[in-house]
């Protein structure tokens, strides 16, 4: 990329800079705060009530009601990705020869000038020492390169050259993660569905838009169970589900919170529960004029004749909660009473208050006595084909950070020279791409160890 000119080169240089990274990260950090203070995904009315019309206009222009998906926030992320890509390409192409050299070489002068070098003088001949030292260095660091120039023998060894790649792994992991998020956003969905015990469905509803989505299989809820602690707090929700594919039952399993079912790329989570509408209710109809009463089961939607051809009663439906003058009367059935020659009227029959309909003081009193209680299970159904890329990004990010932070490329040079007075001088020196203070300490320890070993004799 070096010899391009003009605009494209300028753009390249712009995206190479770490300064841009800092600006982008600052912008991301600062703007992210907005979404934690301003209500997200509210209705227009909520915004107007909270902030007034003027600010609401502003919120709309900048998509602040859903700011983490706003164009400008995504733009910041895209710029960050370009920044990472360009910067990594540039630096990697510069560093490639260092990380993957054809042949490992060393510049002895640069090592020997280092301030952290350690010197040991010994009264033994060079040749004898060189052998022992080579074995020692191989054990301590790794394969040794041996070179002899004039009166000096150089022993060079290194480890962790590959750890220089760590930082590129971290940066690549950011890209992988964002790519996974993008794939999930484009090809995935998050939906909800309620299934009554005993029922089945293959259609779920997108969480935000409520659009129906048809699955490739049916889900049947066999049973739902909730258990409580003594304190009344919920302990466990459990649904027994059966997957039915092409009319065949292919799988039956329990799901709990934190223990979802994953089937053919679709994840099914336990998310809520409630009382399902029953099919039938046992009803009592009292004829207050005649003093007679009948009891029978009535299905929802069924119409029955009242005694003496006085009219008809249709059981219309069921509500788990019925609000009446500010009170929750609980599970309630609804019906339509049509007396002969009159227009019909609707009545509510709360199960917990059997005398409720009596207060109407009509000819007939209706009482919903008992019904078979059923739950429905609330499931969250998701598909996210990007999640594996995200998880791969997670793993790479942790590994990359670990390598970058705690490993380094360390090279050690041991120079062995004979001195005029018949002694031999060992100079131990080292270099590292990270944390030079540690290297100094390390060299000190190594020198002490080496001297100790050499004095003990030839047993290394």
């Amino acid at each position: 990329m070096k010899n391009q000119d003009g605009i494209s080169r300028q753009i390249w240089v712009f995206f190479c800079s770490v300064k841009l990274t800092v600006y982008l990260l600052v912008l991301l950090a600062v703007t992210s705060v907005i979404g934690t203070v301003v209500l997200q995904n509210g209705s227009p009315q909520q915004y107007i009530d909270l902030y007034g019309q003027g600010i609401y206009n502003l919120i709309q222009v900048f998509d602040i009601h859903d700011m983490y998906h706003a164009w400008w926030f995504l733009l910041l992320l895209v710029l960050l990705c370009i920044n990472i890509t360009v910067c990594s390409i540039e630096r990697l192409s510069l560093k490639w020869k260092t990380i993957f050299p054809d042949q490992v070489r060393f510049n002895a002068d640069r090592f020997l000038k280092s301030k952290s070098r350690q010197t040991i003088d010994m009264a033994k001949p060079v040749n004898q020492l060189a052998e022992s030292c080579e074995r020692w260095l191989e054990k301590q660091v790794g394969p040794v390169i041996r070179q002899t120039e004039n009166l000096t023998t150089y022993l060079y060894s290194e480890k962790g050259r590959w750890s220089r790649l760590g930082v590129y792994v971290v940066h690549a992991s950011v890209l992988l993660l964002l790519a996974g998020a993008l794939i999930g956003a484009v090809f995935g969905f998050k939906a909800n569905v309620r299934i009554d015990e005993g029922n089945q469905t293959g259609r779920v509803f997108e969480s935000k838009t409520r659009e129906p989505i048809d699955l490739a299989f049916m889900i049947r809820c066999n049973e739902f169970e909730v258990s409580f602690y003594d304190t009344g707090a919920p302990k466990e929700f459990r649904s027994s589900l059966t997957i039915i594919e092409d009319g065949q039952e292919s799988l039956t399993t329990d799901i709990r919170v934190n223990h979802p079912l994953r089937y053919k790329g679709i994840n099914i989570f336990q998310s809520s529960y409630g009382t399902a509408a029953p099919d039938t209710v046992e009803m009592r109809i009292v004829d207050n004029t005649a003093g007679t009463e009948i009891s029978r089961d009535i299905r929802i939607g069924e119409t029955v004749d009242l005694p003496d051809g006085a009219g008809q009663f249709t059981l219309q439906g069921f509500l788990p909660h019925f609000e009446f003058r500010g009170h929750d009367l609980g599970e309630t059935f609804f019906g339509l009473v049509t007396l002969t020659g009159e227009t019909g009227f609707q009545i509510g029959l709360p199960v917990r208050f059997p005398t409720f309909d009596k207060m109407r003081k009509g000819r007939f009193t209706f009482v919903a006595e008992d019904f078979e209680k059923r739950y429905y299970t609330g499931l969250q159904v998701t598909r996210d084909p990007g999640v594996w890329y995200v998880y791969a990004g997670f793993i790479l990010m942790i590994l990359g950070c670990w390598v970058t932070f705690f490993m380094s490329h360390q090279s050690i040079l041991l120079a062995i020279t004979s001195l005029d007075n018949g002694q031999t001088r060992l100079v131990l020196s080292g270099k590292t791409n990270r944390n030079p203070r540690n290297m100094k300490l390390k060299l000190k320890n190594m020198a002490a160890h080496l001297e100790n070993q050499l004095n003990k004799g030839d047993q290394i």
């Binding site: 992210s32 602690y229 304190t231 934190n258 950070c401």
Partner: protein
Amino acid sequence: MNSAFALSTTTFLYGLATVCYVGAFAFKKKLFATAGFYLLAAGFLANTVGIGLRWVESYQMGIGRAPFSNMYESLVFFSWTMVLLYLYVEVKYKEQGFGVFVSPLIFLSIAYASFDPSISAKINPLIPALKSNWLIAHVVTCFLGYAGFALAFGLSLTYFVKPKQPGLNPIFSRLPDEEIIDELTYQMVVFGFLFLTIGIITGAVWANSAWGKYWSWDPKETWSLITWFVYAIFLHLRMMRGWYGRNLALVSITGFLAVLFTYFGVNFLLSGLHSYS
């Protein structure tokens, strides 16, 4: 002995240690700092026993859960991680000077847990969504990360109490010199960054297994990401000219403020899924 007793002892020991470190700083007495070190170590022991006993007690109550699940437990654990890291650094780098800034944080965290009436020390059973091994991994790694940032914060503060020419005021001669502070701050940020990264990731994996979404921009999540951004900024600024010493220390201090906001501010000021801790 029970966990409540062990943890009150811990609070007391950390309080004494803080007094010693402050004494060492004010009177330039090495002896005080050494006493502070041993008090912290003793407190750490009591702290460990306290957390362990609480775990055992939860099983005795028939609840049986790891002691990392509410505000009280997380504060106690935060003290524990900070002491652990501090003791390690003091032993490894033989620097006692910044104990004066870290020991108050250690003490405050556990003292706040015990004395604020709105924080309950009761062992309550877990709601279904919190019953997950990912929760333990998430809390442990987040608080290791926070401990790294807390130490970096303590180190950064030394820049602002130390005169520019150290010869001027002998009181400050107990503080480590700038090169070492710089290096240590960096090491602590790096440690914190790694563990915050793992913390955010385990949180995401847990969310995915409980709710089918690894990221939902819940305020606590978002604030931990903001904190992560601040420390990423720290790491990159450090490679640019002119960014060392005080300037960089300011970034580390900002980062720790973001940590505190993630931890406390979000609970009290914003609403979301994480209201338990």
